[in-house]
């Protein structure tokens, strides 16, 4: 078979075609059937997806699914494109799970998405108009029956005072009619179909738009029946003018216009909320670095983030390495038992451990002060410096088992004869470690140290569960504290209180991503130099 694929002399077109046919014929039929079967399943799923997407009018996703399916079929039915056959699944996963998320976060960073700017403009308008409906004071409750005539819906109303029947539609104010009554409530009228309640329940949109003027005078208000059974008189305090794209407050005469900021705004700057989502360009990024309430603590938080990440990586690595060296010594008994105990902290969920530590470090009731220090009042979590130390201690406890495992694996990968050769040459244990084992170890471990740095840089769980960022800075006006790292500060700036600011949070996320990415790239470059040592 290989002879046909790797010919010794250039072939003519005919020869090549013949070779291809011969090759195809030589493939066991089972594999071809399996391939067709698998692709059939893929296509069946795709057809189902297209059908579902079509009924929901999700055109963009539909187009993507069709394009991907066609591409997959083309690639796998084609005789060539061998590299693509291996790469396609991976690329699809990459796009779905990585690229899309990244681009979407990036996009949000350029919008004003957050509290008050949550949906579309139509939704904002309808929500504003709906909440501007005020029930006319002291107006009675009108028993209502929903009726229909040639697709027009009307309300058959019983006047609670006179007992008369009134009928009106969205265009036709209420007029007295002759109707059939049932227990004092008008239930049917000639020429109109009385709708049963079950049908009325399905007419949500129609009923929402059905506002029947009480009389020719709009100040009398109009009748609405929110539950399809009881009507109330409402007057509206806001009016939307679609042509001018502005909302007018009918009581004060103030005009709120769309000035492109994502909310109807009056001349004096007051906004009507809810507004809607708009893209705001680099506003969020500018705010992230220039807003005076954020800029102040930003510097000290950034410094502490680096200190925290660097010390965390260094301390866990050296403790892990030390223990790995100790427990790698074959002269030690019960080594496996010790090793299991060593990796226990790694087996507990980190946020749970952090909570338990927070309890143990409580100043007056915690285990550490009460039992270990005999009732001392050591403010583990409430003193700025001690809180930072506490965080580093707890993170050391949480993080060393990982480094211990990694280092042990790397140490066992170093051949024993290297050690023996060094001993023969007269090197002492420290020299063996410093000059031989550590450099060999670092080649394996350095990339993990970099990823560990990136992890600790964004170690939100630990900070949030142990100190919540506290103790607070006493001189700044945002709720940020001495132990907050960048990511927990972002969380507080964007998500505490009753306002959410997803746009600002996304902008911050992008900035943090840039910092971590830069550091990682530079470090990986340096790591390459290590590898050249060998």
């Amino acid at each position: 078979m290989t002879e046909t694929v790797e010919p010794t002399a250039p072939q003519t077109t005919r020869q090549r075609r013949a070779a291809r046919i011969a090759e195809a014929a030589s493939v066991p039929i089972g594999w071809i059937l399996l391939k067709i079967l698998l692709l059939a399943v893929v296509d069946a799923v795709a057809v189902y997806a297209v059908f579902v997407l079509f009924t929901h009018a999700e055109w963009l996703i539909l187009a993507v699914v069709v394009a991907v399916t066609v591409l997959v079929n083309y690639i796998y039915f084609s005789r060539k494109r061998v590299p693509a056959k291996y790469l396609t699944p991976g690329i699809i996963f990459l796009v779905v799970f990585q690229v899309f998320t990244l681009l979407y976060t990036g996009y949000i960073g350029f919008t004003n998405y957050g509290t008050g700017h949550n949906g579309s403009k139509e939704q904002a308008v309808s929500s504003l108009l709906a909440s501007a409906q005020e029930r006319v004071e002291d107006s009675p409750t009108f028993p209502v029956t929903v009726v229909e005539q040639f697709g027009t819906y009307g309300l058959l109303v019983t006047d609670p005072d006179s007992g008369d029947a009134l009928l009106g539609t969205a265009d036709q104010p209420l007029q007295q009619v002759q109707a059939e009554f049932d227990g004092g409530k008008a239930v049917a009228v000639d020429g109109w179909t009385t709708l049963p309640l079950a049908t009325v329940f399905t007419l949500s949109e129609e009923l929402e738009n059905l506002s029947v003027p009480f009389s020719d005078d709009p100040n009398d208000g109009s009748l609405r029946a929110p539950d399809g059974q009881s009507g109330y008189l409402y007057v509206s305090t806001l009016e939307y003018d679609a042509d001018a794209d502005a909302i007018t407050d009918t009581q004060t005469g103030t005009v709120y216009a769309d000035i492109g900021t994502g909310a109807f705004t009056a001349d004096d700057g007051t906004e009507l909320l809810p507004g809607w989502q708009v893209t705001v360009g680099f506003d969020n990024f500018v705010r992230a670095v220039t807003d005076s309430s954020i800029r102040g603590p930003l510097i000290s938080v950034t410094i502490w983030t680096f200190v925290f990440a660097i010390i965390s990586v260094a301390s866990t690595f050296f403790l892990g390495l030390l223990l790995a060296l100790v427990f790698n010594n074959t002269r030690m008994r019960f080594r496996n038992g010790y090793r299991i105990i060593m990796i226990l902290p790694y087996a507990f969920p980190a946020f749970l451990s952090a909570l338990v530590w927070a309890g143990m470090m409580n100043e007056s009731f915690g285990f550490i002060n009460q039992v270990i220090f005999g009732g001392a009042d050591i403010p583990w979590l409430t003193d700025p410096t001690l809180a930072k130390v506490s965080i580093l201690i707890v993170n050391l406890w949480l993080g060393f088992p990982y480094m211990f495992l990694v280092c042990m694996g790397a140490l066992q990968g170093i051949p024993e004869d290297v050690n023996e050769a060094a001993v023969m040459d007269g090197a002492n244990p420290w020299q063996i470690f410093r000059r031989i084992k550590l450099p060999l170890l670092l080649v394996t471990v350095a990339p993990l140290l970099i990823s560990s740095f990136a992890f600790n840089f964004n170690n939100f769980n630990l900070i949030y569960m142990l100190t919540g960022g506290g103790p607070r800075f006493s001189d700044v006006s945002i709720p940020v504290g001495h132990t907050d790292i960048l990511i927990s500060m972002v969380y507080k700036v964007a998500f505490t209180g009753q306002t959410r600011d997803y746009g600002l949070a996304s902008a911050f996320t992008i900035l943090i991503f840039l910092v971590v990415a830069t550091i990682s790239i530079v470090s990986f470059r340096k790591t390459k130099a290590l590898e050249e040592l060998n």
């Binding site: 699809i92 949550n118 399905t202 006493s474």
Partner: protein
């Protein structure tokens, strides 16, 4: 070459998974669409409920279905994500028709335009005044209230047989615990603050909270700050005591008084403690008013079944029978006056109801978010020995600046 073919088959298998996942993502999200909001023409209400109350509502949902033919699908959700999920999903046309929640969400929900106004009609008068006030935002009712919660003092009647007459009287009779924590807990300290005549916000003509009228900085506020400092020095208030520690102290019988809410009564009675419910003893002689938290149901602004949702809430969940059923499940005072009076045959509920008569609804205005942000930390600092005057002044300044 054989290897190649096998590789292709393997790659084909992976392709299936990825197409499945891609299609799965798309069908998943759009599939929800039909499940959550219901197609026009069918009447199905999707109701998000606190996962612990699903059972309480099951019978009510079933009997409503029997009566009207409208299917009610109860979806149990964690309380922690319910509000944020609701705010995010409604604008996309997804999310439920009705959501169960607390009245202090109202400012946020309304600012985001995700709740529809609710017309209680004449039944509005049937609710406890505090519940109705809490359900109203900016003059419009948005919520059907079903339960009113407020804190009171739980007294271990075996240790202290009679109710104390004042705060000092209480301290002299036994140990008092209240949940604080490193960042303070203004919710639990609010009754004392009101006793000094310093509410957070003043109210406007319609009885709604007015964010421009910040009352924290009144004379009473500073008097309260001094009192906090004194209690901190005396050790009566301690920021090391968090919810769990306070609970443990009371359950162990070390503390005779525990300022907490109805949600903790079960634990105390289960521990065999003879619990009595007392009003919050005032440090000044003025009434100590705790915050009332009102729970209820909201209708989504994008619901396709608003008529049925309105009917379900106002004409069904607002009945005494259903309110009592919800009461039995949660043991929290019903919001409907008639149901509340029936429920008050239980002495614990009656105790909370008596205290609740003095309660004020927790402000739902968005400005309150700015207050919470600084309030507790300032109080904790004062308890821990910071100068009461300057710390309280900073609190007032920070809040005023944040609201602007």
């Amino acid at each position: 070459m054989k290897v190649n073919k096998r590789g292709i088959a393997a790659a084909g298998a992976i392709a299936i998974v990825s197409t499945l996942s891609l299609a799965g993502c798309s069908t998943g999200t759009s599939g929800n669409d039909s499940a959550d909001s219901g197609d026009a023409g069918t009447s199905k209400l999707v109701v998000w409920v606190d996962a612990e109350r699903v059972d309480a509502l099951k019978d009510a949902a079933a009997s409503y279905e029997d009566k009207t033919g409208v299917t009610v699908q109860l979806v149990g959700k964690s309380v922690d994500d319910m509000k944020d999920d609701f705010i995010q999903q409604v604008p996309t046309g997804k999310g439920p028709d009705v959501v169960m929640g607390a009245h202090d969400w109202l400012g946020e929900l309304s600012t985001n335009g995700v709740v529809a106004p609710l017309e209680l009609g004449d039944s509005a008068d049937d609710y406890l005044p505090v519940a109705l006030q809490a359900a109203t935002y900016d003059g419009t009712v948005y919520m059907l209230p079903y339960a009113v919660e407020n804190i009171a003092v739980l007294r271990n009647a075996d240790l202290v047989p009679t109710a104390p007459t004042s705060f000092d009287d209480m301290i002299s009779k036994g140990t008092f615990v209240v949940e604080q924590g490193a960042e303070g807990n203004p919710y639990h300290l609010y009754p004392f603050q009101t006793a000094f005549g310093a509410p957070v916000f003043g109210t406007d003509d319609s009885g709604s909270y007015d964010s421009t009228d910040l009352q924290l900085g009144s004379e009473g506020g500073f008097a309260f700050a001094d009192w906090l400092a004194a209690q901190g020095t005396a050790g009566t208030l301690n920021t090391d005591i968090d919810g769990e520690i306070a609970k443990q102290q009371f359950l162990d019988g070390k503390a005779a008084f525990w300022l907490t809410g109805p949600w903790n009564v079960g634990a105390a009675t289960d521990a065999g403690i003879n619990v009595e419910i007392d009003p919050v003893p005032s440090p000044t002689g003025e009434t100590a008013s705790p915050f009332a938290g009102v729970k209820g149901f909201f209708v989504s602004a994008e619901s396709k079944n608003k008529v049925a949702a309105n009917d379900f809430l106002v004409n069904y969940l607002g009945t005494e029978e259903v309110q009592l059923a919800l009461f039995k499940a949660g043991n929290v005072l019903p919001a409907l006056t008639a149901a509340a009076d029936t429920a008050a045959s239980d002495k614990i509920v009656a105790g909370f109801q008596a205290v609740g008569a003095d309660a004020v609804p927790m402000p739902a205005i968005p400005a309150m978010g700015a207050v919470w942000q600084y309030w507790g930390v300032a109080e904790a600092a004062i308890i821990n020995g910071a100068d009461p005057k300057t710390t309280w002044q900073k609190l007032v300044d920070d809040v005023a600046a944040a609201i602007k």
